[in-house]
């Protein structure tokens, strides 16, 4: 049962990754956008290093989240544009495997973008983040999972709406406030030199958020995909 779910999930993820590797329409846009965001922040805030250091955790997460949102929006719109939605629904087995497959793909793309943003961020803003990478990666991963879980569900929904590009962020950001707050605060403490133990309450909140929505979103997904 579980093996079957994993196999189908893997098939779905593999399909999305293969499409992406061939067409490269999502990840290229995400990476370029991420670099642009870091670039624009610099113009918006000026070159003062002290100011930048203070707002760094927020900037980092804005770059992560905006880039992530860009990728999430594509995950179901592409299916719709290519008229593949019906075929997606015809796949045998539980709808949950579609959800988890899409989710895994979305997390993968977002993590890839983050892996580029993080070093670029350290270089462009002169922050010494290299020793902190493992703890930052943990926070980034926990935040990304929660954000993508709700995001994948909402992307499936908004793909069928008018004004779909606008609706995804409008629904996604209010619902993910706990993730945003938790990730930014934890990142702030880590950049200030605090260890993981100092941010354990935020990590627990992020973990709790992830668990709750990893259970609820696949259940809700069944109702979203119904035709």
């Amino acid at each position: 049962m579980v093996a079957e779910l994993l196999r189908r999930t893997w098939a779905m993820t593999w399909k999305d990754v293969t499409v992406e590797l061939r067409a490269r329409e999502r990840i290229n846009a995400m990476l370029f956008f991420a670099a642009l965001v870091l670039f624009i922040f610099n113009f918006a805030l000026g070159p003062d290093r002290e100011t930048l250091r203070e707002v760094a955790p927020g900037l980092l997460w804005l770059a992560f989240l905006f880039t992530g949102m860009l990728g999430l929006g594509r995950s179901f719109q592409a299916e719709r544009e290519n008229e593949c939605f019906e075929e997606l629904l015809l796949t045998p087995g539980d709808r949950e495997s579609i959800f988890f497959g899409k989710l895994a793909g979305n997390i993968l793309f977002m993590v890839t973008a983050e892996a580029l943003i993080l070093p670029l961020f350290g270089i462009l803003y002169n922050l010494d983040i290299w020793g902190l990478l493992p703890s930052l990666a943990l926070v980034a991963f926990l935040g990304t999972v929660g954000f993508s879980a709700i995001g994948t569900l909402l992307a499936a929904m908004t793909a069928h709406l008018r004004a779909r590009e606008v609706m995804l962020p409008l629904l996604l950001f209010p619902l993910t406030v706990p993730v945003i707050l938790g990730s930014v605060r934890a990142t702030e403490a880590i950049l200030a030199g605090g260890g993981l133990s100092e941010v354990s309450h935020w990590l627990k909140l992020l973990g709790g958020f992830d668990v709750i929505f990893l259970v609820v979103c696949p259940l809700a997904f069944e109702f979203v995909l119904e035709e």
């Binding site: 709700i150 569900l153 909402l154 929904m157 069928h160 709406l161 008018r162 004004a163 609706m167 409008l170 629904l171 950001f173 209010p174 619902l175 406030v177 706990p178 707050l181 938790g182 605060r185 309450h201 935020w202 909140l205 709790g208 958020f209 709750i212 929505f213 609820v216 979103c217 809700a220 109702f223 979203v224 119904e226």
Partner: protein
């Protein structure tokens, strides 16, 4: 079906009378607050509004679950109507809170825990209403709306935790707290009357709004059958 039933009109009338009496008591009869002065009187609108809004959002949550379970559009009509009511009262809460905050705290807005939470709640349910408005197909809109309402409601405790860890400045609750209310007893009466008045008023709005929604469904049906014949 052109007008509401007698019972609904009585309900609306009672709500109006209660609110008028509660406001008269609160704004005219009861003496001003010892510390805050007349500004405090805004509480008679502010506090009942937010409680009413929370009740409305709870109704949205319950009827959304019922809709997904039973697939009866009447539940969906209640959900969407109740969401509108909740958004209106959350808006009133935010507005009255700002008007109170300026003379009391010296600022219109501050990112205190409770203000932030109310603002988040407002954005979630405004998003819900936009989702309903942008749905291409009514049945899909009903399903999406129900899913979003359930997510939004589950999100509230997490938001609560996150925002409280982040910051706290709002004065603590003065009625629902261990050791009994700290509000003077002559202030409690208008507060209770306004609360009852707003709950009745919301029920009245809800009944009328649901009736409107059902008329809308019927119009759509009639149009459809006429189209088929013609």
């Amino acid at each position: 079906m052109g007008r509401g039933s007698l019972a609904t009109r009585v309900l609306g009338g009672t709500a109006g009378l209660l609110l008028a009496a509660g406001l008269y008591l609160g704004l005219v009869v009861v003496p001003p607050d010892a510390v805050q002065g007349d500004v405090q009187r805004i509480m008679y609108v502010h506090v009942p509004s937010i409680v009413t809004a929370y009740i409305a959002f709870f109704v949205v949550f319950c009827t959304s679950i019922l809709y997904l379970w039973k697939r009866d559009l009447r539940f969906d009509a209640v959900a969407v109507s109740s969401a509108e009511i909740g958004v209106v009262f959350t808006g009133i809460t935010l507005a009255t809170g700002m008007i109170w905050g300026k003379p009391t705290w010296g600022v219109w807005w501050t990112w205190d825990a409770r203000l932030t939470l109310t603002a988040i709640l407002f954005t979630i349910y405004v998003g819900y209403l936009m989702l309903r408005a942008f749905a291409e197909e009514p049945l899909a809109g009903a399903r999406y709306g129900a899913v979003l309402a359930i997510l939004g409601f589950l999100d509230i405790p997490l938001n609560h935790l996150a925002v409280y860890w982040w910051r706290t400045l709002h004065q603590p609750s003065s009625i629902l707290r261990p050791g009994g209310p700290s509000v003077a007893s002559d202030m409690l009466l208008p507060l209770a009357m306004n609360f009852a008045g707003l709950v009745l008023l919301s029920t009245y709005f809800l009944v009328e709004r649901v009736r409107l929604e059902r008329l809308r469904h019927r119009t759509a049906e009639v149009r459809l059958t006429r189209g088929r014949r013609g």
